[in-house]
Amino acid sequence: MRPAWTAAFTPEGLAFPTPIPVLDEITPDWAWGGSTGRGVRVAVVDSGIEADHPALGGMVRGGVAVVERGGQVVYDDGPHGDDFGHGTACAGIIHSIAPEAELYSVKVLGPTLSGTGSAFAAGLRWAIEHQMHILNLSLGTTKREFYATLHELADTAYFKNTILVTAANNFPQPSFPSVYASVISVACHDQKDPFLFYYNPAPPVDFGAPGIDIQVPWRGGGYISTTGNSFAAPHISGIVALILSKHPGLTPFQVKTILRATAWNVRNHQLPRQVEGGVAAER
């Protein structure tokens, strides 16, 4: 019993898909060995980022806050913080994996926005138009009225080679854009190694990454331990940043193929060996 969509990543539920011999040549070392994420722009579409948090190493390079003024959704490019801590947590996870990736904060959540779908869509549009390579979306909406708008944005991103990494809803109901075919959808598993991820052959969730009781930076310069699919997605965003840094110009479907080829359960056909303080993962 765990957050929705995570059953596929339990010892009982984990599938071991057939390797494709040619793809076997794609190893983690080929995919991201030696990469730091340099030159890759990652937008964290969330509650903002606390840019001076020590866990971010000064890598927050810009961003925008979507705000409501007079009933209109507008962009505010002045500095902003993180109202909740959630965006800082996601940024921190990405930075811990891809330390030289540039982080951009697209703030679509705040006290006066209460998570409106239109602010979310506006944030996505900004990030796509501003040539971000990766959008980390540890949030989504279940409101069907935004289905078409978000679908169009996801397709636009796909055609521009912008990778959308989304967290699956924690409840077993569809949330947008995480159920679209064009995005990389992530749920959490209970392993701790940040580079250990599983491939799920039964969509809409594509991959499983750490997200259960993990330590993350939070607002106010502190850290908390937390659980949720929200924290699995930035692990994959970080790894994608490493891959894109080493292999610039890859398309979303190529990135998905590389992730599949390098997933633990595709390469190893067995459960990871538990060792003290985590697992011995192949890197």
């Binding site: 209460s114 937390t226 659980t227 949720g228």
Partner: protein
């Protein structure tokens, strides 16, 4: 000493017996753990069932008192099932973008009800804004968040599990549980369990809220019907008084929109003289009788899907 007994004392035999005993103990421990899980599930299912039966009853026809009791019951049940030391429930005021503190449970829970915090405060704010649950095992690291919690339950907890209350597509509030009895952090399983509970609870809250609001509206209409005022004037005044709450909820809830449509139709028909009123009354009475008979047939299933 017999030969068999002597054999039984050789180091090999002893080791073998020790292994066997260890295996038995392990198997028993596993069995006990399984039974405990099954028991926990069964207890939870039963408690949930009882809670929902009582919630259904609470939604029958009584006004604000029952509504508050319902909220209290939801918090109590959730805390009890997951073994939490304290708990609180906030509902969202979409007009002011605030979380309105409704109920707290715990040794030093707040006396004062209905204090408000901006929607953008910490973990509860995130959950309310996104509809996604969050479990945190060292909440004291977030001082602003900790202060908001301390205000409701009287102390700063270590672990928190925060779950949205969802009614259809709308998020109507959040339930927070604090500190499990065994000192362990809340697990992913707890998150799922409380999530299931919260979705049922949200339906009950919406039902109860509709009943409460409609009761208030009708009593206002009835008061307006006292000699000296016209029917339309009374309806207008009542709607004005309750307009804010109604506008907010009619936008969010199909339930409200449909209920209001029915009210409008009845009101329109009533204006066409006693015959139209009589016909309308008869039709509605038949529909109500039919709905009641269907409801009693489906009582076993109910809305516990």
């Amino acid at each position: 000493m017999t030969e068999d007994a002597a054999d039984a004392l050789t180091p090999e035999a002893l080791t073998a017996r020790l292994r066997q005993a260890e295996a038995t103990i392990l198997a028993q421990a596993r069995e006990i753990a399984e039974l405990r899980d099954q028991l926990a599930d069964a207890t939870f299912a039963e408690e949930l069932r009882q809670a929902l039966v009582r919630m259904g009853a609470a939604g029958q026809l009584t006004a604000p008192v029952a509504h508050n009791e319902l909220l209290d019951l939801i918090v109590r049940t959730a805390a009890h099932v997951l073994g939490a030391q304290a708990a609180s429930l906030f509902l969202i005021d979409h007009e002011t973008n605030e979380l309105v503190f409704e109920v707290a449970l715990g040794e030093s829970a707040a006396e004062a009800r209905r204090f408000r915090v901006p929607l953008g405060e910490g973990i509860a704010g995130w959950v309310a804004a996104t509809g996604q649950p969050v479990a945190v095992s060292d909440a004291s690291q977030d001082p602003r968040f900790a202060a908001a919690i301390a205000r409701s339950i009287g102390y700063i907890p270590r672990s928190v599990l925060c779950i949205p209350l969802r009614s259809g597509e709308a998020i109507i509030g959040v339930v927070e549980l604090f500190d499990k009895a065994n000192g362990q952090p809340f697990t992913a399983a707890d998150m799922e369990l409380l999530g299931q509970f919260a979705s049922q609870a949200a339906v009950a809250i919406e039902q109860s809220r509709i009943v409460r609001d409609l009761t208030q509206l009708f009593s206002a209409v009835l008061q307006g019907l006292l000699p000296g005022g016209s029917e339309e004037e009374a309806l207008r005044r009542a709607l004005e008084t309750h307009a804010a709450a109604f506008t907010e909820r009619t936008v969010q809830s199909e339930w409200y929109r449909e209920t209001l449509q029915i009210t409008h139709l009845v009101s329109e028909i009533s204006r066409h003289g006693p015959e139209a009123r009589h016909l309308c009354q008869q039709i509605l009475a038949s529909v109500a009788a039919y709905v009641r008979s269907q409801a009693s047939q489906n009582a076993a299933g109910g809305w516990l899907r």
